[in-house]
């Protein structure tokens, strides 16, 4: 109860801070700091404020609030104070986070279980290839079965490419990979309405290196569930 209240308070503080923000000369001392400190508390807010319908927008909203810059930083200072004072006697700051999720998610939410059969989300590709290796068949079947059993679930298939060459051409290469996964899921009986194939090109590498070891981790398709 206390927790819910303070989360709501935190939300309104953030929104108020954002909307009060003067158009000009918002001081941003260190935008990097804002970016880093921004995500954690605000994500909590979003999750608490809007549990089910938030969907894919949670991240967008979160990051944009983070972008509020200087005033956002102030608000975060206030918010932090609220968050910190909410602690009940005996509760260490680190334990204050809500535990709203059962340890093993089931049914329609089984994909939220980070140790279950749906925890594997990434299909990797060879250089300049869109062929899905046989070792990923079980992964695809698990997701197809889960999605077919729970039609309310939606996924975005995000294709990625390594960094070499043109960004736009790499975007197209990533798209071809995500289309390849979309077709594989389609063959497993998943209807098109439940999935969208998109590409992030070379823009979101998981490995930052500039060699084949990094590149092979970056040539991939990630399965993202709505709400994640």
């Amino acid at each position: 109860m206390n927790l819910r209240l303070s989360l709501a308070l935190l939300t309104s503080l953030l929104l108020a801070a954002c909307s009060d923000m003067p158009g000009k000369d918002a001081p941003i001392e260190d935008r990097g700091t804002v970016a880093k400190t921004g995500s954690a508390p605000v994500t909590d807010t979003q999750a608490g404020a809007d549990a089910s319908t938030q969907g894919l927008s949670a991240k967008a909203m979160t990051t944009t609030q983070g972008q509020a810059g200087g005033p956002g930083m102030e608000a975060r200072g206030d918010a932090q104070a609220v968050v910190e004072t909410r602690a009940l006697p005996g509760a260490a700051p680190g334990q204050a986070a809500p535990v709203e999720r059962p340890s093993a998610a089931v049914g329609a939410e089984a994909h939220k279980d980070r140790s279950g059969t749906l925890a594997d989300r990434v299909i990797y590709f060879e250089f300049d290839s869109t062929v899905i290796a046989p070792r990923f068949q079980a992964l695809l079947e698990a997701h197809a079965n889960h999605l077919k059993a729970h039609r309310e679930n939606r996924v975005i298939l995000q294709g990625h490419a390594d960094e070499r060459g043109s960004r736009e051409y790499n975007l197209a290469l990533g798209q071809r990979r995500s289309e390849s996964v979309r077709q594989a899921l389609s063959l497993l009986g998943l209807p098109d309405e439940q999935m969208e194939a998109v590409s992030m090109g070379e823009e979101k590498p998981v490995a930052e290196g500039h060699d084949e070891a990094a590149w092979q981790l970056n040539r991939r398709v990630e399965i993202l569930y709505q709400g994640e």
Binding site: A35, G55, T63
Partner: protein
């Protein structure tokens, strides 16, 4: 995007973006440094006398900006030492012999005066010291914030008078700065000063494209977990979604009349090229291929779209007639030719060519089909032409960091602009 969450998502993001835009009025004043490689075999020696400033503390002295512009071009060797101010420069007693003895071919003098309503008047004269005659005299009235622009204009005039072709100094560039985990779409003067962030996001932004009148930028943003094409007004910062169809939306390019935008969509098949009314309309697919088609760009006459396609097995540049859909392959040399840009006069195509594992800026004469690699770097990207067609702006990697660079179309003069953070995706305003 046809997932049922779309309406809510759209609303949320619009709200979020409105909040974000409020934060964007913060100018970025990071200092860039410029490094020049190469230059004309015999640069023209020019003396630029510090301008007489009616008020102390006029910043910057236009003479310094003009000198930096001309030096940077590689075509001139500028002497602008303060002690030059002691020498005679008035039209009636300019003392050509004195200047000749200093070894200069041309002389520039000027002054900054107060005008009505807080504005400034910048006057300058250009003399041919050898022929002992005045080549140009002009007065520009500007607000104090326009001093730099006036100086670039003066540099353009000097360049044109002395070399017989237009200069490149007055333009603007757009590019992406990645810094501290943020992606900032910035607009700056062509000398990379006056940088201003017009959009910033923790998610990637790529492919900024100027509208032909320079008033809008189209670009691709990944803030919603997929690429979506936006168009943003530079005057008021308001932006709108141009293309958010199912799948990916990317690679915007304006038609020369500004009425249409060519872009890449994956709504019907993997990455194909479409035309869209710039105000938004039903996209018209203009090419059908079994391969990937992307990176469309119009020829200046609006008749052709040049683009990258791997329909033949490897990525190569093709062009297609906008009206009848006839496609022709343009590049044949090598297994990787991408990112076409056409010069304003329609005669040259700049593109990225892979050779021995290196990605380099190349240029093709579209009449003779002769090609030339212009750079010696290994990770060049995103070439675009200067408005006068004499230089190409591109991004490259130097010691793992993204920098912007320009190269003259004959490959002789290269400049590098650098700044803290990663710079990429540059585009020269038309």
């Amino acid at each position: 995007m046809s997932l049922p969450i779309t309406p809510f998502l759209r609303h949320t993001v619009q709200l979020a973006w409105a909040l974000l835009l409020l934060a964007l009025s913060v100018g970025t004043q990071a200092a860039m440094t410029i490094e020049i490689v190469g230059g004309a075999a015999r640069p023209i020696p020019v003396a630029i006398v510090p301008f007489a400033l009616q008020a102390a503390g006029v910043v910057p002295d236009p003479a310094q900006v003009v000198a930096a512009d001309l030096n940077r071009s590689g075509f001139f060797k500028v002497d602008n030492r303060p002690e030059l101010a002691a020498l005679p420069t008035r039209p009636e007693d300019v003392g050509f012999a004195t200047w000749r003895a200093k070894g200069v071919d041309a002389l520039v003098s000027g002054q900054v005066l107060y005008e009505a309503q807080g504005r400034l008047e910048v006057r300058f004269r250009l003399y041919d010291v050898v022929r002992q005659q005045q080549l140009a005299a002009l007065s520009l009235i500007v607000p104090p914030s326009g001093l730099r622009a006036a100086a670039h204009r003066i540099a353009d005039i000097i360049h044109e008078k002395l070399l017989g072709e237009p200069g490149n100094y007055s333009g603007r560039i757009a590019y992406i700065l990645k810094q501290n985990g943020w992606y900032e779409l910035q607009v700056a003067d062509a000398d990379s000063q006056n940088a201003f962030t017009v959009a910033r996001s923790p998610e990637p932004i790529i492919s900024p494209a100027w509208s032909p009148d320079g008033s809008q930028l189209a670009y691709v943003s990944f803030e919603r977990k997929k690429p979506i094409v936006y168009v943003q007004n530079l005057a008021d910062g308001v932006r709108r979604v141009l293309a958010n169809f199912r799948g990916s939306n990317s690679a915007p390019a304006w038609s020369p009349d500004g009425r249409q935008v060519a872009l890449t969509l994956s709504k019907d098949a993997v990455s194909q090229i479409y035309l869209l009314d710039a105000q938004g309309s039903t996209p018209r697919r203009i090419a059908q291929s079994a391969g990937l088609d992307t990176e469309p760009t119009f020829s200046p006459d609006g008749q052709w779209l040049y683009f990258t396609s791997d329909r033949g097995g490897s990525p190569q540049i093709y062009r297609i007639a906008v009206n009848d859909g006839t496609a022709q392959r343009i590049t044949f040399e090598g297994g990787y030719n991408v990112s076409p840009a056409i010069s304003p006069d329609g005669r040259l195509m700049a593109y990225i060519h892979r050779r021995d594992g290196r990605f380099q800026v190349a240029v093709m004469d579209l009449q003779t089909r002769q090609t030339q690699v212009l750079t010696d770097t290994a990770y060049d990207e995103s070439p675009s032409f200067a408005p006068n067609g004499r230089a190409i702006l591109y991004a490259t990697l130097v010691q793992g960091r993204g920098v912007l660079a320009t190269v003259s179309v004959d490959g002789r003069i290269r400049q590098r602009l650098s700044q803290s953070g990663d710079l990429r995706e540059p585009n020269w305003a038309p």
